[in-house]
Symmetry: C2
Subunit: 700 residues, 2 copies
């Protein structure tokens, strides 16, 4: 072990979070720690205000309320699917941007849902009671039933969304109650060229020059929702070294994974996903050359694919780093040794959990190909097969009581599922054929031409023939047909077997179910149960003064505006400016500033900060999070992390891990001087609230 | 350590090859071992006859001489580039096959070269003398100089090719002298649909139904070359359990790599190459949809890409197998422990070598991106940039004495280099633009948009603009221009800077050189030197009764016709038949039998064996190798290995590792009853030699 490894091991072995690390729950926020580091203590009222002013996009992003009239700020890339879905060949809002001049011009997004966290209840005791003494499949099912029951009790209306959230790997269970807002309209989006300036080459990089911004508005009863909590706008932005908070929904981290799980990640999950993404990216890149329409309707897929690739590649880099991986291994060894020394009986139980988790990885090694390609339907890629799977499986699942169903079909999950299933977003058949053809081709490659399912699916036809027939022949692109099948349940689905896509989903269902069951029982249940045993032992050994792994639920992180020093000694300053964007402009995609920027240049204050970095601990899912100062004013809008932040899945290194945000001053400058969006500017900074006495100003 | 690991470790720890393992040199063939296992001893005359009847395709395959008039048998996929290059949109020999009805119809391949190994000389002492006491860069250079000198002394004419081959990781150096045959003509090729029946899905699979066959002919002075040694044809083929020999040129194995090197392979080299190949495959798949011409002229690239992908994926699987990898680690530990116990002084030297090799992996981790993307020019993909690199670098290199040059520009390598450089194979500009655009795009992604080289290469232009301008503007597609630049040397190249591709190569050259130098000095030289120290210690400890890692030089393996049992208990029989091919036919690519087969079906004996498997230890490079029986008669033609054989890079498992061959009886059946290739049938089995007294019948 080198000296560096030893130091890192020591660092990782310390159980409590250090420095600015941590994605804290709102009810577990380390106020004293912040007070000690920054001399400021957020009050409970302040925390409640920030939580209630924050939002989650159910599809996987964060956002904030920034006016009493339901104005929502998020990233362009979080609203991208809506912007693309509202576009047509003639009106391309992705390319040209969108601005609703009046309230009446705001347009409903086909498939966006905004959630606001209104209540948290600790239900650990109830869940533990239900699973007491159980193991494996029985444990998993009992927990599922208890969870479904708790959620059902909570969920008294469609305007609510209740979720039991396992925290600390099951060390604690909280019931989260969200207000659901399903009428979400598009207010403003800049051109993709500046929202994503630098494109994939600059993704996860800094210095950066992006206006990755969109405004939405939530409606209730056909009118803008009236809100009690929203974030005020900071006219001054943040200074270098200033304390910053990020309130958002980090999607998932894996900082408590065992070494056996990390090995599986490193050797299987990550490289295989990267290979998948790379091939699909190649396909899409050329597909877009078929024509302007193809380029337009596949841009969302390409962005998603490129972003996923780069993010996973960063994680792969972290796990291939011998020092980093060695540090994780040393930390695990240290914990196990300390536990053995302190409590041999407990240690025995924990060692059994480690063994069980390692065994689950062995199962996953043999199960991963059918699980990914059949059950996770990479072999049946595309929206239409997804719809078919949902109506076919949903019809079967909904004959059972909620708690006996697969997770995604429980009553609590149905509103979100039907929101997607009944989306009016257009279906592009050409892209669907590409995706399904590719999926079936890879399915044959992965399982072999002689696999019984492959033979059943293809028969004497080629993947392209099967895909083309299913995509062209199905009525699933029609929302009414999907509604009919969903509402009609099993008889309706049985009567729809002439629809080739529905029939295909039904054909695949037995194999998919079989592998799902094995996965849930032999891998997922074992990992969860073992993870809980380890997590609880870790609490008892080291105290609970830490934060749980991310779970796509509201979290608050603290940090400061701060650059960093690269390995090669290069210092990276914390701010960029509009001037930098003009310098970087080549006029060629993805480094082409839009015409609106070029035309407005004379009017702009080029020294206005554009993007900045902070030490806040964030991860995917935090996109769209507001950055607020001690007075809970918006100073920025998170849209990315630097390359080093990608290791954040497994650990946080404050020296180099940085969150990347749009500066609040840049937003004002662009709205007023480039886009003429005076309506939004007035709403963000009404003349009336230039004074004191704001409800959010409570950190002191 | 599980029991299985322990057993495997023991197996791998035994230094001498067991059972049918081994790719033996002709002068180190284990006659006694074969005698013991099979009761037959090949005589020296037999070995010489087989060696002289075997051939190497300089571009990376194996072959054999099968008539006194220079007829050469190899795989379709080895001749594929020639078949494609001779094709046009109107005459597609890839799709429709090729048959020269008369000698006059045989057509010259633009870029094939056949080599026959005519002499082997041990030059170990001379090389060791030259490098005595040297280290690192000095060692590397001294060895390079000695090697170049020995090759130059040997190479007295352009009709010869001399190579110093390091064997046993440098434990031994042999000077191999080949006869070069550069006038190679296409005689016969079946349709790609049957040569590669089952395509990528069936690649590396068995049961299999391929006629992966091509016949070429070597010419001298414009007439068929007259040969003294050639392989006779077996009318009966081989039976299950029969002893078989495979004579060919296995490309490379890495069975002696250290664990540090294997980790680098597992974590970096293999997954990153797989990701590269996957993306390029996606691009090509869609590119082929642009039109029939695009599909035709990129089929070679696609085959190569898919094959590389599947082969590397198999190796990746082997290294991710914890039992397999653990076995390699245990074997290394065992060797180091035994050496320490027996000879502590020697052990110290060997341990230093292990440390140095591990250090070289650390260097490679930091160097790999620029090395791959700049020096190995993945960022500058395509034939045309390749030509530009060769003329630019060649002009510089050839101002130095041969032994001071980079390996590929030494006098001994120049004939092969110019054979490629002056090839009349067509250049497809559309494909070139695709490849260079993709390369430049990835270069920017890999190095970052702010990397100085990226800025120099792209400036304000997009990758596509730079690629299009360079491909459209260059004259390098013209052989005469390439000749002029090559022959004109530095002044000619300097005068050609208006050619955008030449200028691009010149622009990249300083960066490429710099990373090449670091790689050669800090990685390659260290690995070679360390590998030699370890290999020699292993000899001295365990005796030299083993075989060297593959080096794309002639080797002989022995084995038998034998099926295997899969992990799930399924038995795989050793032979397939024509009947199976018709059963597998779906009429859809890649499972569509060609029209010639469908039409000939009534005439065929459907029980004729088509493909078979043997236990011979082969690897990539062995494609096209003859399978011969104890009488040195052709009983088959190697064209593949099974999936399990892909672990063969790192180790051989006789239980499941199998070579896959076309049966000699299938070749006869197809030539006579499907293709009407009577001229070839008569040449392979002239009425005169049906009797005894064949020169090759010498194993008894």
């Amino acid at each position: 072990m080198t000296k560096l490894t030893a130091l890192l091991a020591l660092a990782l072995a310390v159980p409590a979070a250090r420095a600015d690390e941590g994605m804290w729950t709102f009810d577990g926020f380390p106020k004293e720690r912040v007070a000690k580091a920054y001399g400021l203590t957020p009050s409970d009222a302040w925390l409640d205000h920030v939580r209630l002013s924050s939002a989650r996009l159910a599809q996987g992003c964060s956002a904030s309320f920034v006016s009493p009239d339901g104005l929502v700020m998020t990233n362009h890339h979080c609203a991208h699917s809506c912007i693309e879905q509202l576009s047509t060949t003639k009106k391309d809002f992705v390319k040209n941007g969108f601005l609703a001049r009046t309230l009446a011009d705001e347009v409903k997004c086909p498939a966006l849902e905004v959630n606001q966290l209104v209540g948290i209840t600790d239900v650990t005791a109830k869940v533990n009671e239900a699973t007491k003494g159980l193991d494996g499949k029985a444990f998993h099912e009992a927990k599922r039933a208890a969870t479904a029951r708790l959620e059902a009790e909570c969920q008294t209306s469609d305007a609510l969304r209740c979720e039991v959230v396992p925290l600390f790997g099951g060390g604690r269970y909280d019931l989260y109650r969200y207000r659901r807002m399903q009428d979400v309209r598009l207010v403003f989006a800049p051109e993709l060229a500046i929202a994503d300036f630098g494109g994939d080459p600059d993704n996860f990089m800094f210095p950066r020059f992006d206006l990755d911004l969109a405004f939405l508005r939530v409606y209730e009863g056909g009118r803008p929702a009236r809100l009690d909590h929203w974030l005020r706008w900071s006219p001054a932005g943040a200074k270098e070294g200033e304390l910053t908070f990020v309130s958002g929904n980090p999607g998932s981290t894996a900082r408590q994974l065992t070494v056996a799980q990390l090995e599986y990640e490193r050797d299987f999950a990550l490289p295989e996903r990267l290979i998948e993404l790379a091939e699909y990216r190649g396909l899409l890149t050329e597909y877009r050359r078929r024509g302007a329409e193809e380029a337009r309707h596949s841009s969302d897929q390409l962005l998603y694919t490129e972003n996923s690739f780069k993010a996973r590649n960063g994680r792969f880099d972290a796990l291939r780093d011998l020092v980093f991986f060695g540090g994780k291994a040393d930390a695990e060894r240290d914990f196990r040794a300390r536990l053995l020394a302190k409590d041999p009986a407990r240690s025995k139980e924990v060692e059994a959990a480690y063994t069980a988790i390692a065994g689950a990885q062995d199962v996953m090694r043999t199960l991963r190909v059918p699980y990914r390609w059949i059950e996770q339907r990479k072999g049946f890629d595309g929206k239409l097969f997804g719809y078919a799977r949902e109506v076919v499986r949903g019809a079967e699942e909904r004959t059972k009581p909620s708690e006996a169903r697969l997770e995604e079909f429980r009553d609590s999950a149905v509103p979100q599922l039907t929101q997607q299933l009944f989306s009016t977003a257009p279906v592009h058949r050409e892209l669907e054929i590409l995706r399904l053809t590719h999926g079936l081709t890879k399915l044959r490659e992965k399982l072999g031409a002689d696999h019984p399912l492959v033979r059943r699916v293809l028969g004497k036809r080629s993947p392209e023939e099967v895909a083309t027939a299913a995509v062209k022949g199905t009525k699933l692109a029609d929302v009414a047909f999907r509604k009919q099948l969903w509402q009609g349940g099993k008889p309706a689905v049985a009567a729809a077997m002439k629809d080739p896509m529905v029939a295909l989903a039904a054909l695949v269902e037995p194999d998919a179910r079989a592998v799902r069951t094995r996965h849930d029982d032999e891998v997922e249940a074992v990992e969860r149960k073992g993870g809980e045993v380890i997590a609880r032992a870790r609490f008892d050994l080291d105290g609970a003064s830490t934060y749980p792994d991310a779970t796509f639920t509201p979290r608050l992180s603290y940090g400061q505006v701060k650059g960093w020093v690269e390995d090669d000694g290069r210092r990276v300053a914390p701010f960029t400016t509009f001037a930098g964007a003009f310098e970087r402009n080549t006029g060629k995609d993805p480094f082409a500033l839009p015409a609106s920027w070029l035309a407005s240049r004379p009017r702009l204050d080029l020294e206005t900060p554009l993007n900045f970095v902070t030490t806040n601990d964030i991860i995917g899912g935090n996109s769209g999070s507001p950055v607020v100062n001690a007075r809970a004013e918006v100073v920025g809008l998170i849209f990315d992390g630097n390359l080093q932040s990608l290791a954040g899945d497994y650990g946080f290194d404050e020296r180099v891990n940085r969150a990347v945000a749009v500066d609040s001053r840049a937003i004002m400058e662009a709205l007023s001087r480039i886009y003429g969006a005076d309506r939004i500017v007035r709403e963000l900074r009404p003349p009336a609230h230039a004074g004191a006495g704001r409800p959010g100003a409570a950190a002191r």
